[in-house]
């Protein structure tokens, strides 16, 4: 994988796409006009229609013995038109009423039947016939309700007076209504739908253009004659389509922001609130979705042999997005941890919540991370499709070529293999967590997740690859110098975490309080377990299982890029992302940098395992000891704790690191793998 080549391919595809004016119009002009128009149209339509409905006369038929007070009350109401007045009921009132309504002669029919009340004259049973399928009939019913309520109240007041009671007693409370829902809710459910569709449409034509279009024009064939890897081709194209989908999302959000902030005071319409903060959060949720959509668009697009065929192939993708995005418009569908795992629908729900209410940082993170996991899986699938010569050369039975290919030994320890492994454990950890949550005790959730998602799969992954388990997992003792460095890193790991926590307090990071509350809850719960159990599930299991996964499989795979920096940073980022909550992810990723660096330099996984265990075990013991000592919460102490870390890093510089490109004894990939040989 050579980044300059991928960049050259990206630039070429981008230049071509930008020279297609249709794409630019669709990407920029439409969103900038769409939202102001939508907002104005919504305001006009909701106002005008509601007014028109209110102004239409209530065409009323009244059958049966109506008391004078009722007739007077109805006649006194505005815009009431008598259609029919009968003193007696017809034989089949329901059938007759339906006929009148169907023939549009009446918008409501009232049938009155007197019912004697012992010693107190008679009451009236009123059958109200209307057609809720017709807006004007529904409006008539609501207007009639109000009139009848007034008439009924008048009758009760008379009866109270006759009984010697104060008429005021007839109305113990008054309801004053203020409806903010109609326009706000309409926008609240429409905006996410429009945004998702705009995002997909922004990438739709560029994706066809750089895949099927390129095949049809014969330029893909030309490209394949050049010394390039399929992964470089797919990354270049993926970059362009992602740029368009993300650009589409950004321009749409910009258009929406401009429309709301310029046309509406404070960016609030009914229950919908659009502020810069909301727009940033919405864009954050759309980033992984754009990555996922782009991967699917190019993977499916390249199966087609012509632009027209590409449109046919991608239309079902568009329909799937439409259906899932539509889910957020269904009343009663709320964002739950389970729905947070469903791609597209989860983002649509998050957007709806963002525009109409507040989203919990934890749930937002689950949506972000799960969509990211789907996106990684999508990118890997796209890469696999692009490795198929049957697909690229428009051959027959491309599916057999895509799914029938065996993974070569050693592929697990390629950067792509590391990403695939990460996607699997990410999806696994989220799904298992949601599945087990509240069904088994917390300690069991932790233990099962650690062993079932991180530990066992890591070992199986290495064994299946045929690589040397001892080498991949760096199962060796560190040198004395390395061991000293590891010991000095212990306070530094704490120091870094205190620094991060204090920094978060200074800049008031969103979700920080929620994170601290969750951690406090976990530690309180762990304090109620027997100490050996708490240490086993909170300290030992993560120290072993997560280290096997991140400083073992991930580090080894990413080191195949030939860069130790990429390996350490990549595995640390993966370690952070799997912790889901943004604050937890930030802390974990930072600590992961230290653990990865120490493991790579000492060539011993024990470095990571030891530091991880000491960190978590201290948290467990601290929770049992009660509140954290006040002196821990100071910048000076945090910085002092970091000082030994500087010495540790100096000591580690003297260690002989794992050779670049050869972690764990797996020889580096030969860069010269052809399209055919990549099979």
């Amino acid at each position: 994988m050579r980044w300059p080549i991928a960049l050259a391919l990206f630039r070429r595809d981008l230049l071509e796409a930008l020279r297609d004016r249709r794409t630019l119009v669709l990407l920029v002009a439409v969103p900038l006009l769409l939202y102001p128009m939508l907002l104005v149209a919504t305001a006009l339509m909701s106002g005008t229609l509601a007014q028109q409905m209110q102004e239409k006369p209530l065409k009323l038929a009244v059958w049966g013995p109506a008391p004078a007070s009722l007739l007077k009350g109805v006649e006194g109401a505005e815009r009431v038109e008598w259609v029919e007045r009968r003193e007696s009921l017809p034989e089949e009132p329901a059938r007759e009423a339906r006929k009148l309504l169907d023939e549009r002669k009446a918008t409501a029919v009232l049938a009155l039947t007197p019912v004697p009340v012992a010693g107190a004259g008679e009451n009236l049973v009123m059958d109200l016939y209307y057609d809720s399928g017709r807006t004007e009939s529904g409006v008539a019913r609501r207007r009639l309700d109000k009139v009848l309520d007034q008439v009924k109240l008048g009758a009760v007041r008379v009866r109270f007076e006759q009984a010697g009671l104060s008429p005021e007693l007839a109305e113990p409370f008054q309801v004053k209504e203020s409806d903010f829902r109609s326009m706000g809710m309409f926008l609240g459910v429409m905006l996410p739908y429009l945004l998702l569709m705009a995002l997909v449409m922004s990438g739709f034509y560029p994706a066809i253009d750089v895949t099927a279009g390129e095949k049809e024009r014969g330029t893909l064939q030309t490209l394949l004659c050049a010394p390039i890897h399929p992964l470089e081709v797919v990354l270049g194209k993926y970059g362009v389509v992602s740029l368009f989908t993300l650009g589409g999302a950004l321009v749409n959000l910009g258009g929406m922001g401009l429309a709301f902030l310029a046309l509406v005071g404070g960016g609030t319409v009914g229950r919908v609130h659009v502020s810069p903060g909301v727009l940033v959060a919405a864009f954050g949720a759309l980033v992984p979705l754009a990555m996922l959509v782009s991967a699917v668009l190019i993977a499916v697009g390249v199966l087609a042999r012509s632009f027209k065929e590409g449109q046919n192939y991608l239309t079902p993708v568009l329909l799937v997005v439409m259906v899932l995005a539509h889910g957020a418009m269904i009343p009663g569908v709320e964002l739950t941890p389970k729905l947070a795992l469903v791609p597209i629908l989860n983002v649509a729900l998050v957007l709806r919540e963002l525009f109409t209410a507040k989203v919990a940082a934890g749930l937002y993170s689950v949506v972000f991370v799960s969509t990211l996991a789907w996106a990684v899986a999508g990118v890997l699938f796209a890469a696999r499709v692009f490795e198929s010569e049957q697909v690229l050369l428009s051959g027959e039975k491309p599916w057999r070529d895509i799914f029938g290919r065996k993974v070569r030994r050693g592929d697990h320890f390629s950067p792509g293999g590391a990403l695939l492994y990460f996607a699997i454990i990410l999806v696994g950890s989220i799904f298992l967590g949601v599945l087990l949550w509240n069904r088994v005790p917390l300690w069991a959730v932790l233990a099962l997740t650690q062993v079932g998602v991180f530990g066992v799969p890591a070992v199986l992954w290495v064994r299946r690859s045929g690589a040397d388990v001892r080498e991949i997992f760096s199962l060796r003792l560190p040198t004395l110098r390395g061991a000293l460095a590891i010991a000095l890193l212990v306070p530094a790991v704490f120091g870094v975490q205190v620094l991060l926590r204090k920094s978060m307090g200074t800049v008031s990071m969103p979700g920080a309080e929620e994170f601290l509350r969750l951690m406090e809850l976990l530690m309180k719960q762990s304090a109620s377990w027997p100490l050996p159990l708490a240490l086993a599930v909170v300290a030992l299991a993560p120290a072993v299982c997560e280290e096997l996964a991140f400083r073992g499989v991930m580090l080894a795979g990413l080191a195949r890029t030939g860069s130790r920096t990429v390996a350490v940073v990549g595995s640390a980022l993966a370690f952070g992302i799997v912790h889901v909550h943004p604050i937890h992810a930030l802390i974990a990723a930072t600590v992961g940098l230290l653990l990865g660096h120490a493991t790579l330099r000492t060539r011993s996984l024990l470095a990571g395992v030891f530091l991880h265990f000491v960190n978590n075990a201290t948290a467990v013991l601290g929770a049992r000891a009660g509140a954290e000592p006040a002196w821990m919460d100071s910048w000076q102490v945090a910085l002092a704790l970091c000082v030994p870390g500087v010495v540790a890093l100096w000591l580690l510089r003297g260690e002989e690191p794992t050779p670049e490109g050869e972690p764990g004894g797996v020889p580096a990939n030969d860069a010269s793998v052809s399209l055919g040989q990549a099979r």
Partner: protein, 241 residues
């Protein structure tokens, strides 16, 4: 320089190319002749490292399709009727882009681009989008693209298709110049006149199999005919039956 060793390609149950073997030496032009559907394009794609052989191997300048198709692409210039140019890019941009893919130094790439634009007389249209160019102009740009990294071997699959006489002759002369510069050239065509004008030897391919190969007079003699066209027709009807 270019060698096919029992190259075979199966697609499901069908065999597109069966055990094709021949070679092209440096400073030689070999014509690959065969009717439509003979397997010429599949064979050339395998030799270019674009398609993986089911059996056998191809060699280009010592690199094997079995183990080193990537290096083949570095050492080979490939041109076929299917290898088109980006419609929205100019010939100069196309050359720059492919130079980057071949990892040519920027200064060298610029020099080489200017040199090819001059050599193929593309100055008048080098900065116009390829989509606006004539077939002949596009093919000149495409040949320049194949020559860009100065490869020791060239595979040209029906490069004169759809060209007028002048453009065709211009291209054939460029191929002769490349041969004189010591490049090994495998040249596929339907036009027998081009073969007579250009090729030192020919390989006759039909239904995926090599029927005969050698210098044109020898092939004609073995078929008992006087011209290459007659030799071609001599082999094909009996094999098609």
């Amino acid at each position: 320089m270019i060698e096919a060793r029992k190259l075979t390609k199966h697609y499901g149950g069908a065999t597109a190319v069966r055990e094709a073997s021949f070679s092209v030496a440096a400073g030689e032009v070999v014509g690959l002749l065969g009717p439509n559907g003979a397997g010429k394009t599949t064979l050339l794609r395998m030799l270019a490292g674009v398609l993986t052989p089911s059996e056998g191997e191809g060699l280009v300048d010592g690199a094997s399709t079995a183990t080193d198709a990537f290096r083949i692409k570095q050492r080979l210039g490939f041109l076929s009727g299917d290898t088109a140019l980006s419609q929205r890019l100019t010939p100069r941009e196309v050359l720059t882009f492919f130079g980057q893919l071949h990892q040519l130094e920027p200064a060298h790439l610029k020099r080489r681009t200017d040199e090819l634009i001059a050599q193929f007389e593309m100055g008048a249209f080098a900065d116009k989008p390829c989509g606006t160019l004539s077939a002949g102009q596009k093919q000149r740009a495409n040949v320049a693209r194949a020559f860009l990294h100065d490869p020791p071997a060239l595979i040209l699959d029906e490069p004169t298709t759809a060209l007028d006489v002048l453009s065709g002759r211009f291209l054939l002369d460029a191929i002769r110049t490349a041969r004189d510069a010591g490049k090994a050239i495998l040249f596929s065509t339907h036009v027998m006149g081009e073969v007579d004008y250009l090729c030192d030897r020919v390989v006759l391919l039909h239904q995926g199999q090599v029927l005969d190969q050698g210098p044109i007079p020898e092939v004609c003699a073995r078929a008992g005919v006087r011209t290459l066209t007659e030799a071609f027709l001599h082999y094909l009807p009996s094999r098609s039956a």
